[in-house]
């Protein structure tokens, strides 16, 4: 009887303690938040860590991951996230993942883009040879702070560091080109050409250096044509007219029509549109590249699949649409006229090439 009473008492105590534990559970959920709130300053923690600063930063890192995960489904109250990562990186200034994950969480989950930027900048100051931090900083500027020029600069910094894959440099050059910073894009391609150990990439970089240089020449000539139109109220008949008219841009008179960087004459075309007469100045090499690309597109996505499906070549390109192989014929630059041979399924742009005197 007495033993049964003791067992009952123990069981009752156990049950009550469990109930109390369950009742107080929601309070513990806020505990993690409060933990983060009361984190002391990173420098102070470093001081009292007694040489265990790395271990402390690891423990805080694990705590921060739990903080992120726990609050992911419940209101996403991440107000102490920046503070946590600031302290972690105070304790261990080389903790690359803390900077990168921290910035990712801050920009992706809390929209604290400035804090994400500041954290990565701190990471860069402490790790100036880490291309990943520079790359992430570029991404924050590009995707969140909408500052492509700064983004390009950071991608550029990343690109100049050892171990940085070539793709990062190419991203940076494209970003600069998109924003009209051809000079920066040119710098980047020249740097890739000078520093890469790969022959293939060197060739690609060499070609792109010429491409960007050609684009710079075209941009400059475009300014002369615009100036000509402003003065004469009409477009020049050819680029030579710019020289004859002694058109001046920024106090500089064009004394001859330059060739492009591939050492070919530029293609100048005029076209009447709804908006009036328009012009374009283009590089022959780039036109050839574009035409080759379209030709491959037609063959790989239209003509070859048609033959596989129907066992013959299409009678015309129009038949690709009629038989549902492609939904529509893609637009083609320069009013290209397709020379299609239904006997062989071959496509060529010879007439267009002839018209622009592009050569093969």
């Amino acid at each position: 009887m007495r033993r049964a009473g003791v067992v009952l008492l123990v069981l009752a105590s156990l049950g009550i303690s469990l109930a109390a534990r369950i009742a107080l559970e929601p309070e513990h959920e806020d505990e993690l938040l409060m933990d983060m709130a009361y984190l002391p300053n990173g420098r102070m923690l470093k001081w009292i860590s007694g040489g265990m600063d790395n271990m402390m930063s690891d423990l805080l890192w694990l705590r921060s991951l739990r903080y992120v995960m726990d609050h992911f489904d419940t209101g996403r109250d991440y107000r102490y996230l920046y503070k946590a990562y600031d302290i972690i990186t105070d304790l261990d200034p080389n903790f690359q993942k803390a900077y990168r994950f921290g910035a990712y969480f801050l920009s992706g989950m809390t929209d604290e883009y400035e804090n994400a930027r500041d954290l990565l900048k701190k990471g860069w100051d402490n790790n100036p040879t880490n291309w990943r931090i520079a790359y992430d900083l570029g991404s924050v500027y590009d995707l969140h702070l909408k500052d492509p020029i700064k983004a390009g600069e950071w991608f550029g910094k990343a690109a100049h560091l050892p171990d940085c894959p070539p793709g990062v440099r190419q991203n940076a050059t494209l970003l600069f080109e998109e924003k009209g910073r051809l000079d920066r894009a040119l710098d980047m391609w020249v740097s890739i050409r000078e520093t890469t150990g790969s022959d293939k990439l060197k060739k690609v970089a060499e070609w792109n250096v010429k491409r960007v240089q050609s684009l710079m020449i075209i941009r400059s000539l475009t300014a002369y044509v615009d100036e000509f139109r402003k003065i004469r109220k009409t477009l020049p008949g050819s680029l030579d007219d710019l020289v004859e008219a002694r058109i001046s841009v920024d106090d500089h008179v064009l004394s001859f029509v330059p060739k492009d960087a591939f050492d070919e004459a530029l293609v100048y075309t005029r076209k009447k549109t709804n908006r009036g007469e328009e012009f374009s100045i283009e590089c022959r090499e780039l036109i050839r590249k574009e035409l080759d690309k379209r030709k491959r597109y037609f063959s790989n996505l239209g003509i070859n699949p048609f033959r596989r499906k129907f066992g013959r070549w299409p009678k015309s390109l129009r038949e690709l649409v009629d038989k549902g192989v492609v939904t529509r014929l893609p637009s083609v630059p320069h009013d290209v006229e397709y020379d299609y041979d239904p006997e062989t399924g071959e496509l060529s742009y010879d007439r267009t090439l002839e018209r622009y005197n592009l050569g093969q």
Binding site: K46, G50, D58, K97
Partner: protein, 267 residues
Amino acid sequence: MRVGAIAANTFREAVRNKVMHAIVGLALIVILCSKALAWVSAGEDVKVMTDMGLAAVTLFGVLVALFSGANLLYKEVDNRTSYLILSKPLRRYEFIAGKYLGLVLVLLGCSVIMSTVHAGYLTTFVASMEEEEVLRGEMLRSFYLALGQAYFLIFLELCVVAALGVFFSVISSPVFSAIATFCTFFIGHGLRNIKDLTDVVESQAGDLILKAMYWVLPGLFMFDIKHYAAYAQPRSLGTILGCVVYAVCYCIVILTLTCVIFRRRQL
């Protein structure tokens, strides 16, 4: 010879102590459990295991130094066994030197056990990782070199802490000795911040006190290269040799002071 005999006896005594076994056992458990934390560290496994392991080797090593150092002379005096020993043709400084060397042997043994288990555990873990994940070739060599350096400097740091422990145990009770040694350990790691404070403090006296603290207290932060080990960045031979010279000289100064105080002490 006489010093060797006392050192060997101190070592034997410490090895038989169950508390010592418990401390080393606890250290090994912490080292082996570091993998559990590594699993949830979002890809920072090696770093977490390295940091935890090195911190465990340091902390538990300091505990061994505190526990043994604080009791080292007190027990001998309290049990009056020191009367028996010092009545022999043995100088007091030889007694102190023997006791200290015995303690250093204990610390060496503990450090070797903890470091070997930690390094072996890390090696097994690194070997089981995917090829592209981390640490191969030159990087792996740098990592092990930096790790070896870190273990060595932790041992040197423990020797300095042990010397301080012996010093405090001569002038006070074991509890005060342990507290004073532990505080000196923390201050020794934070000395760099004390130096920074000298730029902020305006009073000349304050500045002088801080500067004196900076140069007199043990610069234990010098031995702390755990951070570099975690990032596979070995230190130069000059740095390591500098630490060795500093540790040896500092221990000689502290032990000489200990001997002077012990010689004047009425037993």
